[in-house]
Symmetry: C2
Subunit: 476 residues, 2 copies
């Protein structure tokens, strides 16, 4: 059976675009190993179609053979959603050869791109045409837009521009039956039926394969300024966010929070970086103000905001970057936290969201709970406060073996954190998705009626259960 | 059978909240007649539950009896989607008693409201709390938020804030089985599964009943200014839109276009209104600039924009409203077009969208086509140019009997316009939805794979086909 399928795949995309373990010198690890090295699978084959029609033909061949398909873009996902399982029966469908920018429409403020385009290339193509593609995240140098959409990626500008979902107007999708839905609309308004676009976005390849998308573009801001502020409490950070919304309006394009311990790790492990204002404050905040007018105007707004915040006791000290280089430096500190944390040792990662108003109480309660349960535990707390999204990571107490700590405590700590998240009406996956890493947790934390609806939709669109099975929803 | 159902409904919501034609002095016309008086149905009963639990019980009772349900809010829809058919067997489920604002969360910038709340009441509740609920449309004094979400309403501020869908974070929904999905999240980020929210939004009551929603709020702008500009061509209007995006950024909260004939009707039929600048230009444009800083700042931005536009030949003349009263007056002219048009006589209405960049070519081609086919036909063209959304309405030639014209020509003119829309990659329903008025058109203009996916979802979530049958999708 698998020989016949491989033959069919080779006929579809050409033998040079089908990779198997039987190839001389075969090394499929780039496709089989997940980004965080949490799981290593074994594929029947890796197939790299060169067009939407070829993607459709691959899906039809797999469907005819009853073989499962694992769509893959840049393979930078964090929840083990884009690598095959260990069965050796799954076909990895790599989209990276579909990497054309099909069109940029300046007057419509849209660009139409193929799924395999690397995000950073799209940001640059947009900028070259005079526009901003606002999706921006750590993996942008290697992740693909198809993966960004399949996982509804978030990132650092969500507070202004929304997630990947909000940046997408239209999709081209290959269904689980190998048909092509031509939904590449550039329309801002289209009320002719159910919102299929948003259903495929965030479905992590379990309902079909996104092959192209039409994305929103924005005018390039005239200036972008960054400020760094020390805040006395998390409550103050939340109040500062409200003040920033009020004063900057849509100019507020970034609002990140960083706990003192997280910044201490950057200070310790990244000696070339000078972390400002962290020693005397429990939290620091990074703000970005994008202005359509001028740098002087942006700076005036920023200074008024910080002055008011200082007067209200929301900020104890602050700096506004004087140059682009300084601004990049401040963002670089924020982005170095995961690396510094890895240097400190293995840790238990969480990607949670909580209503912004309840974050201070959530952190106070959960910090205390974890300290009670595991004395000496260290919390690396940072994230996109503007979106209510925290990367609430847990590091072993000083001196403890991190590997042993993870093995023994990860499951219990996940339970404690997720239960707390549930008490605060939060989400156990804010921006990373479910994949297979969190699929088992969903039945405990997701509304049962919602789960039932999801299963009904999965069954309706992929009755053969061949699209990325076991991801998002555990196998029936 | 129907007697047993009526009995069950009375036990569920109380006899006083069940209305039938057998009641003494019964008049169900407010629920049975659609807003535009295109169709009059006959209900088995009108039921007004007072809570989500009662809505669920009503749906279960109807499901047990195999009776169809027609959810209804303010009954202001324009596509005959919320009134019963003529069979006398359908139950109208009126949501108007679910009209509580459940919560306003200032720090999270959200409000949680019940489906039956009138939109204007919600705008006022938000403003009282110091925030803006940006959804705004002509029917806001009587439409309900449940209906706005069920139809993914658009309106006048979509260019900045998006449609109803983009303003909603969470939903509470009663499924076709009478279960309650508790999805009232106030989270900006939640990637734990399929996007059920956006699936129910815009599904026009055919998949379930929206009973409550959590909506996004925004800071109130410090100032809102309105300008009115005469433009030499539709091309110039599109270029002016691009310039406004560039100069005002997110401050651009409104961009409406109005054709000369549309304005001439306001001039003729609304003698108390003084329509500016319309006599010498084929189109006028209404722009709104919302500013988080000050009126002086907004005015400066506006003046610079219009100056540049004037220099580039995009604007031949313009006025900026000097007061709030003047601004309201300009908007009032725009909003009087449908009324003035009705005074002129019956007409054929279209609610279409086209990629903004292609609107000038679409209008040139379609205007000429209609003139060729029906000499003397008059085009009342106006709409939300910022969203690519035109109300491209067709009025009988001078002196012709409008009723006769509609009867003889409506179907042919719809076909001509819709075919042109399809050639320009547009949508035959931008913001009004499908209802039963356009359900027959969908199979001709919607991608067949998309239609197949929609049918599969409908079958999966409402296998009994009791939720607003025949709307959006024609009966199988």
């Amino acid at each position: 059976m698998s020989a016949a399928l491989l033959q069919a795949l080779r006929e579809t995309v050409g033998a040079a675009q089908v990779f198997t373990h039987d190839d001389p010198g075969a090394d499929l690890s780039a496709w089989e190993q997940d980004w965080r090295k949490r799981a290593r699978g074994r594929a029947l084959a890796v197939v790299r179609p060169g067009s939407t029609a070829e993607v459709a033909a691959v899906v039809r061949a797999c469907a005819a053979a009853g073989a499962s398909i694992v769509p893959q873009g840049g393979n930078t996902g964090l929840v083990v959603g884009s690598v095959p399982d260990e069965s050796g029966t799954q076909v990895v469908l790599s989209l990276t050869r579909l990497n054309a920018v099909r069109a940029i429409d300046p007057a419509n403020l849209t660009m139409t791109v193929e799924a395999g385009c690397v995000l950073q290339n799209l940001q640059e193509a947009a900028e070259k045409a005079g526009f901003l593609l606002p999706l921006s995240l750590a993996a942008e140098g290697s992740c693909t837009i198809g993966g960004n959409l399949a996982t509804n990626a978030g990132g650092t500008q969500v507070v202004r521009y929304g997630n990947a979902r909000e940046l997408c107007l239209g999709l081209e999708v290959v269904t689980a039956q190998g048909e092509v839905w031509h939904g590449l609309t550039g329309l801002r308004k289209d009320n002719t039926g159910y919102d299929l676009r948003d259903l495929f976005i965030g479905s992590e390849g379990t309902l079909g394969v996104i092959t192209a998308a039409t994305l929103k573009l924005y005018p390039l801001p005239a200036a972008r300024l960054t400020a760094w502020a020390a805040v006395p409490t998390l409550d103050a950070a939340v109040s500062l966010l409200g003040l920033a919304h009020q004063n900057l309006g849509a100019g507020l394009t970034g609002f990140e929070v960083m706990g003192q311990f997280a910044l201490s790790l950057v200070d310790r492990h990244c000696p070339t970086l000078r972390v400002p204002l962290w020693t005397d404050s429990p939290y620091c905040v990074l703000l970005e103000n994008s202005d359509n007018e001028s740098e002087a105007h942006a700076r005036g707004q920023f200074e008024r905001l910080l002055e008011t915040a200082f007067e209200q006791g929301l900020v104890s000290d602050a700096v506004v970057a004087e140059s682009l280089a300084q601004a990049h430096g401040l963002w670089h500190i924020r982005e170095s936290i995961p690396l510094a944390q890895a240097e400190e040792g293995l840790n238990i990662k969480h990607d949670i969201s909580i209503p912004v108003s309840r974050i201070p109480a959530f952190c106070a309660e959960t910090d205390a709970l974890l300290q009670r349960e595991i004395p000496g535990v260290r919390l690396v707390n940072f994230g996109h406060l503007g979106d209510g999204n925290l990367h609430y990571n847990v590091q072993a107490p000083v001196g403890e073996d991190a590997k042993k700590f993870l093995k023994e405590e990860e499951s219990r700590i996940n339970g404690l954190v997720f239960d707390a998240v549930a008490r605060y009406d939060g989400s156990i996956s804010a921006e990373h998705g479910v994949g297979s890493l969190k699929a088992d947790h969903l039945p405990h934390y997701k509304d049962p009626v919602a789960l039932g609806l999801m299963r009904a939709i999965k069954q309706a669109l992929d009755p053969q259960q061949i699209m990325n099975p076991g991801r998002v929803l555990v196998r029936p």
